[in-house]
Symmetry: C2
Subunit: 363 residues, 2 copies
């Protein structure tokens, strides 16, 4: 068929109510786009970094290769902690990051990732997708940085970290040099901990030398790769400051506005696929890593209840102070904690009871 | 621009390495498609039924309206329990269903939805997406019915149901007329329960008249709509036979083969969006419904531990018998339970501990 006449036929079909539906192809017009995405993570964190690749591949597959997003590891285009700035300035169209890295700019960013004694993974997804969380947070994100954020990953409840000595009481926290940041650092400071800011790659030697007493990272799969079990014996849980941390794909608002409705829909769907991928992947790989760690002599320890309670109390103090100082934080976190209260009242019933029964029955 | 010359330019751009990337549109050729999807659910189950609509809308949005899937409630095209047959025969291209409805054809179908003392929602997603579950189950689905299945929803752990009298011991199960089906019915039969098969709409009058003693349905949000709290006082948990039931979009294999790679990718992404939607929506609406039920006088009761243990033991017997009789079931369920063992060993550590702490701290 001569191409121009085919187009005319295709164009006619819409007017005639789909009379040629059996025809193999209708002409559409979607633009070719090349975007760059800066990840805040190294390729070695294959699960977190990999989620951005999952998103990029899905966008390409759905658009027949016409919408391409190239994924760049931390440091390749911009350093890990400058991803938000770079997207805000429009130097790159997208980023993939943990928004609590920008706690220093405004603690409100942390609500979208994880805050102490917050929502677990599933509760966070309920808040974000169906509880109004995405809307209220994106109002802040647009106003503060001209970015649109999409949930694109979760690690699940993280571990509490690696400790060279046992923590048997609240007293043991006094003077403890613990590699931990953000909100958790502020909470633990109230209990005498001296928070340390150390990049992931520098934790091992610091723990080995005893420059620090403890360090938190992520969970078994990622922690094993950094070898912390060789320099600290006790592996504590739960990481109460990260009960279900969400990772986000962030998009410059002006770049987003250039997308066709089809590409916007494709990008949202791809971000949701990345979100599902990351949690499923972590759950699939963490159990074996945990077994190997325990097999190597690692001792799993729950934080003692009095330590948890002291941290919980200190967290409420930090929230009270932060609310008083920051209206953005108060608005978004009030919404989040109201949602959490209901979630917990519901999860306590059938969900937690089922999980706890299975944990005891399948020993 | 005269249209034909524009096409020539567009065609040239690929060869010249994207030199005209700034041009607004490149011609593509994706076909116009109209598919029909039969849901096994009525519109009144707006969360479950709604997930198929979410999927359909996403497919339309991503394809610029060219790939349309019309969603039909149970009974509109085919009855609820004939959805699999209709998709297998190619009378309709797609269905949205709970595959355990086809337990009678082969109990292996149930593994993709929920089986007694099985995976919770998140563990199920890990098995399906990253643990090899989708692959091993789809081998069975293709061989048995020529369909491809995609995860497209989850209700979370369901409630154990509405009981007119308290269940205080295993003895109380003897002779109990309980509206419950499939695997759970087989398990409970071993403990003297007389399982009843009653469509959702007929449960209320049966409970009211005392024709049955108890009935399970879904959870607070859906159960409240049917008014069970008016005719049964005790609301038991957990629904151990449905710890995280997955709903599926199913596609006739021959229809699937007609899709372009772009449309296949779009359909997979849309199913994942439906999957995320349903769980988030249930979690967002269940807490308020539970509050209203408790406010109306409903008494929440956990099944006593000896009852749970007796059911667990009876379930293992049913699995042993089913494995002996059905090689498909043995293959798929062995894979599932191996995965579960690892999941539980991991969830027991940080995830359950975090959830349990939050449930007690936020009272």
């Amino acid at each position: 068929m001569e191409r121009r006449s085919f187009i005319r036929k295709a164009g006619a079909s819409a007017a005639t109510g789909g009379a040629i539906l059996a025809a193999p192809a209708i002409i559409s017009a979607q633009p070719t786009i090349r975007w760059r995405l800066a990840s805040s993570f190294p390729k070695s964190l294959d699960t977190i970094y990999g989620a951005a690749e999952v998103m990029s591949k899905a966008v390409s597959a759905m658009s027949g290769g016409k919408f391409q997003i190239s994924v760049h590891a931390a440091g390749e285009l911009v350093p890990a902690f400058q991803v938000l700035d770079a997207v805000q300035q429009g130097n790159i169209e997208m980023g993939h990051t943990a928004l609590y890295y920008f706690f220093g700019k405004d603690p409100t960013w942390a609500v979208a990732t994880a805050i102490p004694f917050g929502l677990n993974c599933r509760q966070f997804q309920a808040w974000w997708y169906q509880g109004g969380g995405s809307q209220i947070f994106n109002e802040f994100a647009e106003k503060s940085a001209g970015v649109y954020t999409m949930l694109a990953g979760n690690t699940g409840a993280q571990m509490g970290g690696w400790f060279r000595k046992e923590v048997t009481s609240v007293e043991d926290l006094k003077g403890l040099k613990f590699r931990v940041g953000g909100f958790a650092g502020q909470v633990l400071t109230k209990l005498g901990v001296v928070p340390q800011q150390i990049p992931g790659g520098d934790i091992y030697p610091a723990l080995e030398k005893g420059t620090i007493d403890a360090a938190e990272w992520i969970g078994p799969y990622d922690d094993e790769k950094l070898g912390f079990n060789k320099v600290a014996k006790f592996y504590y849980y739960p990481g109460w400051w990260e009960g279900g941390p969400g990772l986000h794909a962030i998009v410059n608002q002006k770049a987003l506005a250039t997308l066709t409705p089809e590409y916007k829909a494709i990008l949202e769907a791809a971000a949701e696929q990345a979100n599902g991928f990351m949690m499923a992947k972590y759950d699939a790989v963490n159990p074996q890593a945990l077994k190997r760690l325990v097999g190597s002599g690692t001792q799993l320890k729950p934080f003692p209840r009095p330590v948890m309670d002291a941290c919980f109390k200190a967290a409420q103090e930090v929230y009270t102070e932060t609310n008083a100082a920051n209206a953005n934080f108060k608005k978004v976190s009030d919404h989040y904690f109201n949602f959490q209260r209901d979630q917990i009242s519901w999860f306590r019933v059938t969900e937690n009871t089922f999980d706890d029964y299975m944990a005891s029955a399948k020993r």
